[in-house]
C-alpha cells in the first residue's frame, strides 16, 4: 500500500494554504430510517479542522447511527457526508473509527493489530519492526509492546492499541463511540489526556459519542445533544486548553449547567 510512512510529511502539500469556507467535516442528514422507524432527521453538523465535538443523548437516540453514517458504515440515508467539500462515498481511510471496546484481534500481536488496515502479507514479526507502527505505539505509551499478544494487555492498554490502530492511516477525522466507558476512572482520565495530546499533535478532527457529562465538557469545543433523532441543543465550551480538571471556571460551569438543562429538556433523565 502506498502512503507516507512518516507522519505529517505531505500533509501540508495536500491542504490549501488557509482553511477555506468548506474546510472540515460536514454531515448533513435529512432523514435516516430503519424500516418504518425514523432514527435521525434534519441533522446539519459542521466541524472545523481540529475541532473536538461530543455528541450526547439518551440511549437509542440515534447517536451511534450518526457516527456509523459518518464512518461510511450506513450508506442508506438521505443526506451527505463531506470532508473539505469533497463528498465521502462509504468507507474512507481519512476517517478512523474507535469502538467502545478495543476489538483487537486476539490472534495477532499488538503491532499487527495496529497495522490491521495494511494488508500487505508481511509476517507479524516484520510488522513489529515497522517504524511507523513503533512510532504510533510510542505515541500511545506502549513502546516495546509490539510483539505482545492482546491477552497480555490490561483494558486501558488494549484501548491504547485500538487508538493506535485508528491512527495508522493518519485519518483527518477520528470517530469515537463511547471509547472510555469500559475502563476504570483513572484509566479514563489517562486515555482522555492521550486523546487530547494526539488530537493537538496530529490535528485531526474528533467526533465523540459519550454519556459522561464531565468527559464531554472537559474534552470538547462543542457538545451536541440529540433527542429523538434530532439535534436539540448545541453547547459551546469556551475554555482554553489545557483545561484544568480540578478547577471549574465560569465558562465550564456555564457549559455544564447548559448541558444538564439540555439533557433534562431532551428527557435523557
Amino acid at each position: 500500500m502506498n502512503f507516507p510512512l512518516i507522519l505529517g510529511l505531505d500533509e501540508d502539500t495536500d491542504l490549501p494554504e488557509a482553511h477555506p469556507a468548506n474546510a472540515g467535516l460536514h454531515v448533513r442528514i435529512n432523514a435516516k430510517n430503519y424500516g418504518q422507524r425514523e432514527v435521525l432527521r434534519n441533522v446539519d453538523l459542521k466541524l472545523r479542522p481540529g475541532e473536538i465535538v461530543s455528541i450526547t443523548g439518551a440511549s437509542g437516540c440515534g447517536k451511534s447511527t450518526l457516527l456509523r453514517i459518518v464512518a461510511g458504515l450506513e450508506r442508506d440515508f438521505n443526506g451527505s457526508v463531506s470532508l473539505d467539500g469533497e463528498r465521502l462515498q462509504g468507507i474512507d481511510e481519512r476517517v478512523g473509527f474507535i469502538f467502545q471496546e478495543p476489538r483487537l484481534l486476539p490472534w495477532l500481536n499488538v503491532a499487527a493489530n495496529v497495522a490491521f488496515s495494511d494488508d500487505d502479507g508481511k509476517s507479524q514479526t516484520a510488522v513489529a519492526a515497522s517504524p511507523h507502527v513503533n512510532k504510533l505505539l510510542a505515541e500511545v505509551g506502549l513502546r516495546d509492546y509490539a510483539a505482545a499478544l492482546p491477552k497480555q494487555l490490561s483494558g486501558g492498554q488494549a484501548q491504547r492499541v485500538a487508538i493506535a490502530r485508528g491512527l495508522y492511516r493518519q485519518p483527518r477525522v477520528l470517530l469515537l463511540d463511547e471509547p472510555f466507558s469500559a475502563v476504570d476512572a483513572f484509566t479514563r482520565i489517562k486515555l482522555q489526556e492521550l486523546l487530547l495530546r494526539l488530537a493537538s499533535e496530529h490535528g485531526f478532527t474528533v467526533l465523540l459519542v459519550t454519556h459522561d457529562v464531565d468527559e464531554a465538557i472537559y474534552l470538547s469545543d462543542r457538545v451536541i445533544v440529540i433527542g429523538e433523532g434530532k439535534v436539540t441543543a448545541e453547547i459551546p465550551v469556551h475554555a482554553a486548553r489545557p483545561r484544568e480538571r480540578q478547577h471549574e471556571t465560569a465558562s465550564t460551569r456555564e457549559a455544564r449547567n447548559a448541558l444538564f438543562s439540555a439533557l433534562h429538556a431532551a428527557h435523557v433523565f
Partner: protein
C-alpha cells in the same frame, strides 16, 4: 506505569516456558498413577488365582503376547491400521473442512447443503457398511471410505458452528476497514474459527479410529481390528487385550500430536484452561 507493566508482560511470556518441563513431567507421572496401580492390582489378583486366566489374563501374560506378536508381524498390523486411519481421516476431515468453510461463509450454500448433511449425519455410520461392501468390495477402499465418512461430520459441524459464532463485533471491525467478503473470511472469520476447527479435527480423529475398528472387524486380513477378531475366534483374551491396548496407545499418540499442533496454533487464546495452566 509502563515499566511495571512491561515486566508483567516479560514474566508472563517467560514463565510458561520456564516451568513447562517440570510441570509436564509431574503431570505425566500423575496421569500414569491410575493405570499402573490397576495393572499391579490385576497382576496380584491373577497370581493369587482370583481371576480366571482364560478370561482375564495377567498383565505380564499380555505383555508376553505383545512381544511374541511383535516378533510375528505386529508391525504390519499397526502399519495397516495407521495408514487406513491416516488416509480416511485426511480425506474425510479435508472434505469436511472444505464443505464447512463454503457453507459457513455463504448463507445460500448453507440453505442448499446443510439440510442434506444434517440428514446424512443422522444415518448411523455402520449402516453404510453393507452398501460400501456391495459397491466397493472388501479390499482397502470401503474401509477408507467408511473412516472418511466418520471423520467428515465432526469437522463439518464444528467448523460451521465456529464460523457462525464468530464475534459480531470483530466482523463489524472488519467492515469499518472495508474488507471484502474474502478478506473478512481470511483475516477474521477463519482465524476466529480456528479453535472450533481444531475441536472438529480432534473429534474426527478419534472417530476415525473407531470406524477403523468397525471396518476391520467386518472384513480384514491385517490390522488391529483383525487381531481383535482373531483373538476372539481362537479364544485368546491376551491377544484381544493387547490389541485394545495398542488402539489406546495409537489413539492417544495421534491425538497428542494434533493437540500439540493445536496448542502452538492457539497460543493467543486467553481461555480458562490457560489460566489454570499459568497458575499451576
Amino acid at each position: 506505569m509502563s515499566e511495571t507493566a512491561l515486566s508483567v508482560v516479560a514474566t508472563s511470556v517467560k514463565s510458561p516456558a520456564g516451568t513447562s518441563g517440570k510441570r509436564r513431567l509431574s503431570r505425566f507421572l500423575l496421569g500414569l498413577a491410575l493405570p499402573i496401580g490397576l495393572l499391579l492390582l490385576l497382576e496380584a489378583a491373577s497370581h493369587l488365582g482370583l481371576t480366571p486366566p482364560h478370561l482375564l489374563p495377567a498383565p505380564s501374560a499380555v505383555f508376553e503376547t505383545l512381544i511374541e506378536l511383535g516378533r510375528s508381524g505386529l508391525g504390519t498390523h499397526i502399519f495397516a491400521s495407521s495408514l487406513r486411519v491416516l488416509l480416511g481421516f485426511a480425506i474425510g476431515a479435508g472434505l469436511g473442512l472444505a464443505v464447512a468453510i463454503s457453507v459457513g461463509l455463504s448463507r445460500r450454500l448453507e440453505e442448499i447443503l446443510d439440510p442434506s448433511f444434517q440428514a446424512l449425519r443422522a444415518v448411523p455410520s455402520l449402516a453404510w457398511v453393507p452398501l460400501l461392501l456391495l459397491w466397493l468390495g472388501i479390499d482397502e477402499t470401503p474401509k477408507i471410505v467408511l473412516i472418511a465418512i466418520g471423520a467428515f461430520f465432526p469437522v463439518y459441524l464444528n467448523v460451521v458452528s465456529g464460523l457462525r459464532n464468530v464475534d459480531r463485533k470483530l466482523v463489524e471491525l472488519g467492515e469499518t476497514y472495508g474488507l471484502t467478503s474474502w478478506g473478512l473470511a481470511r483475516r477474521i472469520l477463519l482465524p476466529a474459527a480456528l479453535p472450533s476447527i481444531f475441536t472438529g479435527l480432534r473429534t474426527s480423529l478419534s472417530l476415525a479410529w473407531m470406524f477403523l475398528v468397525a471396518a476391520e472387524l467386518i472384513a480384514a486380513t491385517k490390522g488391529l481390528g483383525y487381531l481383535l477378531t482373531d483373538g476372539r475366534e481362537t479364544s485368546r483374551p491376551d491377544i484381544v487385550i493387547a490389541a485394545i491396548l495398542l488402539l489406546a496407545v495409537l489413539g492417544k499418540l495421534s491425538d497428542g500430536l494434533l493437540k500439540n499442533i493445536e496448542e502452538r496454533a492457539l497460543r493467543w487464546r486467553d481461555s480458562f484452561d490457560e489460566r489454570l495452566e499459568r497458575k499451576a
